[in-house]
Symmetry: C2
Subunit: 314 residues, 2 copies
């Protein structure tokens, strides 16, 4: 069994590649997804990272944006705007169907894990790929800016991640428990993959859940834990990871990311453009691997997943 | 102040005509709308009759169906269907915006009356036309058929009102109170108009609320209560009113409707095609008025409203 830790677009792209290795090369793939970005809009429970993973693995993601559904329309959002609502958050019509089903099921008392598994089934994702939230409990990422603490989507979407970030916190963490299946995967997976997602607000909340770091530290023969850098040549491919690292005082490079993962991973994948950082990564006690990591299409996702499989089997 | 009692399409059409007489001829128009058909779908609170009145008075109703929004699409419904949901109830995309705003506001603790007034404002309906639910409480119309008691929309939409109807009941009535503004309108309106809506399941629930019949019986100088028959030549223009009357043992004619309103109205409007029923209506103690009542367009709605205004001012 393999476990993959994922946020949104970058995580979903690598997860898509890993899915392509199932069930032959990977018999059982568990994708543990960040839910710190979840929020409520127009009474609907929205799980942006889970949706991105669901749509990408379900083959319906918008290839231009990486999130949302290909060819989706915004009839409902347009009417909400006509009725006087502020259209600050993009809501596709087909996308809304997901939010409606999720919100209905949560209201009926189902947990987010059950709801997510049900949506994956409806999207035709195979049974041996289990997409799961990091927790059934609510953990809400908040961002400290010069204007104070902001809910994540307020910072990320409404204010277009333009504010300097001085701190990040995860509200609700004290009362939250990781999903048992996620904790178990973290503890017993032969391979744990840190997808190229934001280390602070995508991988960060998953690792912050009580027990997750201990589970990850569990030693077993042949177990490999491998991270892929979301930072290439000092820049995030997507999103504010670079500015966030800078604001929090970390080095804005793949090496800076590797330092955040010291003691957590055995292997670290650098993009080919960052080959010069390999010796410094090795000095952190990780095996560096230099690979093409930019996943422009499904073939590139598969190629990176295959390269990772070769690394961990070597 | 005038009060109008309305269900869906027929009621909305006459309400539109009455609105056209405001604020000059009618300074203050209160439209009391049936909510016995309200139900929850995909977690959304849907008020079909209120929506039909809102859309008709807001000038956005689909002129072909009389309900829904003109030119609306079903992107969300199509995706829900793709995801395995049964698309038994039509859900337009623009329509959904209404349901989302209503559900969100109700969840936040607002009453249906406040939510309805807010939606009317957003649709640009003038302040002197107050569309209001009959109650802020839940009253649910149920239909007895050979297959047992059915929720109204189950009977009406899912089973296409094809079942014989042997009884009708309003669940929740014992705990429900009429909306104070509706009760007040019923008691003190100079003119009370029973729109050409189904007497059993549209006007019926409004009158069944405690205190409504007493308020309607309140006598004041010059006060006129006038009903328009929804049955023409023994048939309902729309919906199952004819078969419902038959199933419940009433005469299926405008006269049958008039008999249901004995003691409640002073004047009764028959369609021109039913002029021969005028003497029998007069024998019930009402003034019969023979008028063209088929409201094919806004001009026809206005003409009927003007004719009613002439009747009550005579």
């Amino acid at each position: 069994m393999w476990a993959a830790l994922a946020g949104g677009v970058g995580g979903a792209k690598l997860a898509r590649g890993l899915m392509a290795l199932t069930p032959v090369n990977i018999a059982d793939l568990r994708i543990i997804v960040n839910t710190g970005d979840d929020f409520t809009l127009h009474g609907l429970h929205i799980s942006p990272d889970i949706d991105t993973v669901l749509y990408t693995l379900g083959g319906i993601a918008n290839p231009q944006t990486g999130w949302g559904i290909a060819g989706d329309t915004t009839k409902v959002l347009d009417q909400l705007t006509t009725l006087g609502e502020d259209p600050w958050f993009w809501l596709g019509d087909r996308d809304l169907a997901t939010h409606l089903l999720r919100t209905r099921a949560l209201s009926a008392g189902d947990g987010l894990a059950k709801v997510t598994a049900d949506l994956a089934r409806r999207l035709g994702i195979p049974a041996w790929v289990r997409i799961m939230p990091m927790s059934d409990d609510v953990v809400s990422t908040e961002i400290q800016t010069p204007d104070g603490w902001l809910p994540f989507q307020e910072y990320f979407v409404r204010r277009r991640h333009a504010d300097p970030v001085s701190d990040v916190r995860f509200a609700g963490l004290a009362r939250a428990r990781p999903l048992p299946a996620a904790l178990e995967a973290m503890r017993s997976a032969e391979v744990v993959v840190f997808c190229p997602s934001n280390p602070i607000v995508s991988i960060g909340p998953i690792l912050a859940l009580p027990g997750m770091r201990d589970a990850l530290a569990h030693r077993q023969a042949g177990r490999r834990r491998i991270a892929v850098s979301p930072i290439i040549q000092g820049q995030a491919l997507k999103g504010p990871a670079d500015r966030m690292l800078e604001g929090l005082g970390y080095e804005v490079s793949a090496l800076g990311v590797a330092r955040l993962y010291v003691g957590l991973v055995d292997d670290f994948v650098l993009d080919s453009a960052d080959a010069d950082l390999a010796p410094a990564v090795a000095q952190l006690g990780m095996r560096p691997h230099v690979l093409p990591t930019i996943m422009t299409d499904a073939a590139a996702s598969l190629a990176l997943a295959q390269a990772i499989a070769q690394v961990v089997q070597a």
